[in-house]
């Protein structure tokens, strides 16, 4: 069996049994990365560091002092600051930025022995749903439509992380999810990914997009692998005032395969007009799988759903417009002198440093916070956000988890939506409500479309109840038995 085909759980077993070494795993991963360059998955490769970390893992195995994730290669979304390794947020404005510090989430992974496998591409500052806004160019989805050689987008913003896992380069990767940036690319690339409850993972050291929404999470090929990674990533961090001071449960043991008696809600409002029949079908199939497994499936109402997307596109840009003010050319990152005076320097630096989508969102955010517009936009959006959260609370009084499609379509072709921001934003329609409510959501591969492209189902749970989410997702995964792999067209014979 190919080392790269192994899941994290299998790698852990093999490493412990000394069937292969961390260095062998690292070399296999690096070789796979080299073969897949055409997909533009990595912004920064870290060959030396990868091998050095793997060697350290091997030493610990030799001493019998191995840690939980020792030797497991993990690709990091290039939004996590990594000490001594360039961290760009896929932006020109940070394209030479090398942090002197390590994000809490990545530090937690290294503490447990994981091996850094490069920094993956993303939408610039995580703003996008297709990975086409990256300053470093788009990432290509390893999956292609049957009989169509055109590039498909991997989804976004964690497109590089989704692709690196789907292409069997890394068994797992980190993502961040602000409005669906883990779940939608996971669905587009046929892998699993969870956005945990807001506050479960520390945001310290993650380049901020929208602070009240940003949340880190794992992406891997199995539900169990996601649980294993999240176990290391999660935990209270005194450096992040919004991180939750709660014990981290054992996520993997929550995957019991038994959901008998569990109540699962199907939100009626998610059956949107014009939903493709294939999406509706996979959703119905998912509901049936859960019923077959002994769950009680029933419709629930989330009446505020239709306001979620407009609310999100006020709150997130508002926070972003402020969060991105620090990229001013003064202390770090790109500086373009412009006309030479202060305003000229600001304008030239930010004008050249930020791409079109980032500039668009800064403008939207600045607008909705401006005097005279604040009440009509930002304040109202915050009120609606509370109502959306209340919708979920009420639903969770009746059911233990919700089942929805992850995205309204399969992966689309590159360029198909990039000229139309509204249609691009609509990609987040099923993921954004949970982001606004701060609740956990996981995407699991549920099958292939008629075009041979993966489709995902989303499980939503109560705040801090990732365990139920994992449990339900595990049952879906088992029922779906998703074994399809993308054809490795990128490997030259």
């Amino acid at each position: 069996m190919e080392l790269n085909d192994l899941t994290i759980a299998e790698m852990q077993d093999g490493l412990r049994a000394r069937k292969f070494s961390a260095t062998e795993l690292a070399k296999a991963a690096l070789a796979a990365a080299d073969r897949a360059k055409v997909m533009n998955i990595f912004i920064t490769e870290t060959h030396e560091r990868t091998l050095a970390m793997a060697a350290e893992s091997d030493q610990r195995f030799a001493k019998g002092m191995a840690r939980p994730l020792d030797g497991v290669p993990v690709a990091m979304k290039d939004l996590f600051c990594t000490k001594g390794v360039r961290t760009t947020a896929a932006s020109h404005i940070l394209d030479a930025f090398v942090p002197t510090y390590e994000s809490t989430v990545s530090a937690n992974l290294w503490r447990d022995g994981a091996v850094l496998l490069g920094k993956t591409n993303l939408d610039e500052f995580a703003m996008g749903s297709s990975n086409e806004t990256s300053f470093f160019g788009p990432v290509e989805n390893p999956w292609r439509k049957l009989g169509d050689a055109r590039s498909r987008v991997p989804g976004g913003s964690s497109g590089g992380s989704a692709a690196v896992v789907a292409a069997r380069i890394a068994p797992g990767a980190t993502g961040t999810d602000t409005g669906g940036s883990i779940r939608q690319p996971a669905a587009f690339c046929g892998i699993a990914g969870i956005k945990p409850t807001y506050g479960r993972c520390s945001r310290w050291g993650i380049v901020a997009f929208a602070s009240s929404l940003d949340q880190a999470g794992p992406m891997a090929r199995t539900v169990r692998d996601c649980a294993i990674l999240l176990q290391s990533m999660a935990g209270y961090d005194a450096k992040d005032s919004t991180s939750a001071d709660l014990p981290v449960p054992d996520f993997a043991t929550a995957i019991t395969g038994d959901i008998r008696g569990l109540k699962i809600g199907i939100p009626t409002e998610y059956r949107v007009d014009g939903m493709p029949a294939e999406i509706a079908a996979v959703w119905d199939r998912g509901a049936q799988w859960l019923r077959d497994a002994g769950a009680e499936v029933r419709p629930v109402h989330l009446p505020m759903t239709k306001y979620a997307l407009p609310t999100y596109y006020i709150v997130a840009p508002a926070e972003a417009s402020s969060n991105l003010a620090r990229y001013d050319g003064v202390r770090f990152g790109l500086r373009v002198p412009g006309t030479g005076d202060l305003t000229g320097m600001y304008e030239a630096t930010r004008g050249e440093g930020f791409g079109k989508e980032v500039r668009r969102r800064i403008l939207i955010g600045t607008y909705v916070l401006s005097a005279g517009y604040y009440d009509a936009y930002y304040l109202k959006a915050q009120r609606v956000r509370s109502l959306i959260a209340r919708d979920f609370q009420k639903a969770f009084e009746q059911v233990d988890a919700l089942l929805t499609p992850t995205a309204p379509s399969e992966a689309f072709a590159r360029g198909e939506k990039s000229g139309d921001p509204i249609s691009m934003y609509l990609n987040d329609v099923f993921t954004v409500p949970a982001s606004l409510a701060g609740i956990p959501g996981m995407s699991v591969p549920a099958g292939l479309s008629g075009n041979g492209l993966p489709l995902g189902l989303q499980v939503l749970g109560r705040a801090y109840d990732e365990e139920t989410v994992f449990r339900v997702a595990g049952v879906l995964e088992q029922a779906a038995a998703f074994a399809a792999k993308p054809e490795p067209w990128w490997v030259k014979p």
Binding site: S241, T242, A325, R326, D328, R331
Partner: protein
């Protein structure tokens, strides 16, 4: 409060069209006394090498997050309680967005709609003894910005981020002041209270306290005029000068047929004038919104009560106690409480003197106050020293006071002893012994001197006998002179009366 408040005596300015009244409100920025910054662990020491006290958070590096410094919160609550203000159990930190090189994040974390402290009050006393109440509108916490250095390079501005993130309390008064004197008295009183509380060191020359001064003018009793805000005035004197200049300027504009535009102005201490900085139209749109990196700040009443229990006695209460319980004159009491260091010194002085003499504070309060204010202050002033740098400690001064109260030395000798203590740092008893200044109360020895004085001055004796009672003083003086000031004046008086009458 039970303070007798006097109606405002407005400072009236003469204009061509008659009298004008000035209306003043102050926003004082007081740096919180704290070892570390409001949202980071970086140090706050004054005068450190540029950019040596800057954490990753203060420099707004990507991915950095603020964490509230609990001590700064406690200090703000303490200040609120000291200003007799309502403490808001729930407050919110907002972002105030604007671009400037010394503002690394592109926003300042401040409190806009929900400050930590609400309405309170301060009582000020004016030169004529009038007491005025000035309302406090609010107190909120915010971060300071860094400092732009424009004089380090011909073409570039340098930025020092040491101050970036330092905790400030912005204390906003109501527009309750009606004269430059009141504005000055307000800032002085606020400073005193902050220093009593230990929440701000009040060092205006180090920038620990600075004020934005809002000034408008109106015809006495008329509707409020349009105000101008004079930014960042950093001394008591400048605050008063800025008010005076600004009031006159506004009167001139209005009487010249113009109108006052709401604007931000700067006070130039060199020329004594204010000039326009930016108009209302140019004012920033700060796009305030709640900082999503910080949860709302929630305090419990129990936490507030616990802080309240540790509040020190504040100047107004102390002054009342000094007057009522220690029987100290209003003037001296006012002087004693004006500076925390003086008040602290005085408390030790009274306590130590009590230990030495067994007397109750009320029996020696006035004597203690007199010794400190009338005598030690004189020596300190002559030397240009503050009370903290006094070579005579409170305990040492109490030693002197005790010798004086128990009659060991005379009041006259006491001055000499204090001067020697001041010069040498020796204690009172040693100086008295060395100089042989111990007062003579031995009637035998004094009787001998009295007899001699009477024998030496027959003419004066005759005058006394003829009914000129005031000649007693002459004889007392003679005896004191012969004893080199050591004779106990009470004993001398007694004996003289007896002998002269005989």
């Amino acid at each position: 409060m039970g303070q007798a408040v006097t109606e405002p005596a407005p400072q009236l300015f003469d204009g061509a069209t008659g009298k004008w009244e000035v209306v003043i409100g102050l926003e004082v920025h007081a740096q919180v006394s704290s070892q570390s910054k409001l949202f980071s662990g970086a140090a706050t020491e004054f005068g450190a090498e540029p950019n040596s006290q800057v954490s990753l958070v203060d420099a707004a590096m990507p991915g950095m997050l603020p964490v509230i410094n609990a001590y700064c919160i406690e200090q703000a609550v303490r200040t609120g309680l000291g200003l007799k203000a309502a403490v808001n159990l729930r407050s919110v930190f907002d972002r105030k967005n604007y671009f400037y090189p010394d503002l690394p994040a592109g926003y300042q974390i401040s409190q806009f709609k929900q400050p930590i402290v609400g309405e309170g009050e301060i009582f000020i006393e004016l030169a004529d003894g009038a007491v005025r109440r000035v309302g406090i509108e609010r107190l909120h916490l915010e971060q300071d910005a860094g400092k732009s250095l424009h004089d380090q390079h011909p073409k570039f501005t340098y930025v020092d981020l040491n101050r970036s993130g330092v905790a400030l309390m912005e204390i906003v008064s109501k527009p309750d002041m009606r004269s430059s004197e009141e504005a000055g008295a307000y800032v002085r009183k606020l400073r005193t209270i902050l220093r009593y509380l230990g929440t701000c060191d009040g060092n205006m020359d180090q920038g620990s306290m600075r004020a934005d001064v809002n000034v408008s003018v109106r015809k006495p009793g008329g509707a409020l005029g349009t105000r101008c805000e004079i930014k960042n005035v950093n001394s008591m004197r400048f605050i008063q000068q800025a008010v005076e200049y600004e009031a006159r300027r506004q009167i001139e504009v209005i009487e010249g047929g113009g109108t006052i535009a709401q604007e931000t102005r700067l006070y130039d201490a060199n020329t004594g004038v204010t000039r326009s900085m930016r108009s209302k139209e140019e004012a920033h749109d700060y796009r305030y919104f709640p900082d999503p990196d910080l949860l709302p700040l929630v305090l419990t009443q129990a936490e507030v009560d616990a802080i309240k229990a540790t509040l020190p006695e504040l100047p107004d209460e102390k002054r009342r106690r000094l007057e009522n319980e220690l029987k100290i004159s209003p003037y001296l009491a006012k002087v004693l409480v004006a500076e925390k260091e003086t008040a602290d010194y005085f408390e030790v002085l009274v306590a130590e003197a009590g230990k030495r003499t067994g007397k109750k504070p009320a029996e020696m309060g006035q004597d203690s106050a007199n010794l400190l204010v009338m005598e030690l202050f004189g020596l300190l002033n002559k030397d240009g020293r503050t009370i903290e740098a006094s070579p005579v400690s409170a305990a040492a001064l109490a030693g002197l006071l005790a010798l004086r109260l128990d009659g060991t030395i005379s009041g006259l000798a006491s001055k000499e002893v204090l001067a020697e203590m001041f010069a040498t740092g020796k204690d009172a008893a040693s100086v008295v012994d060395e100089k042989g200044l111990r007062q003579v109360s031995d009637t035998g020895e004094i009787e001998r001197l009295v007899d001699q004085a009477i024998a030496d001055n027959p003419k004066q004796l005759a005058q006394f006998k003829a009914g000129k009672e005031t000649m007693l003083g002459f004889f007392v003086g003679q005896v004191m002179k012969m004893s080199q000031g050591r004779a106990n004046p009470a004993v001398v008086n007694d004996l003289l009366r007896k002998k002269l009458a005989g």
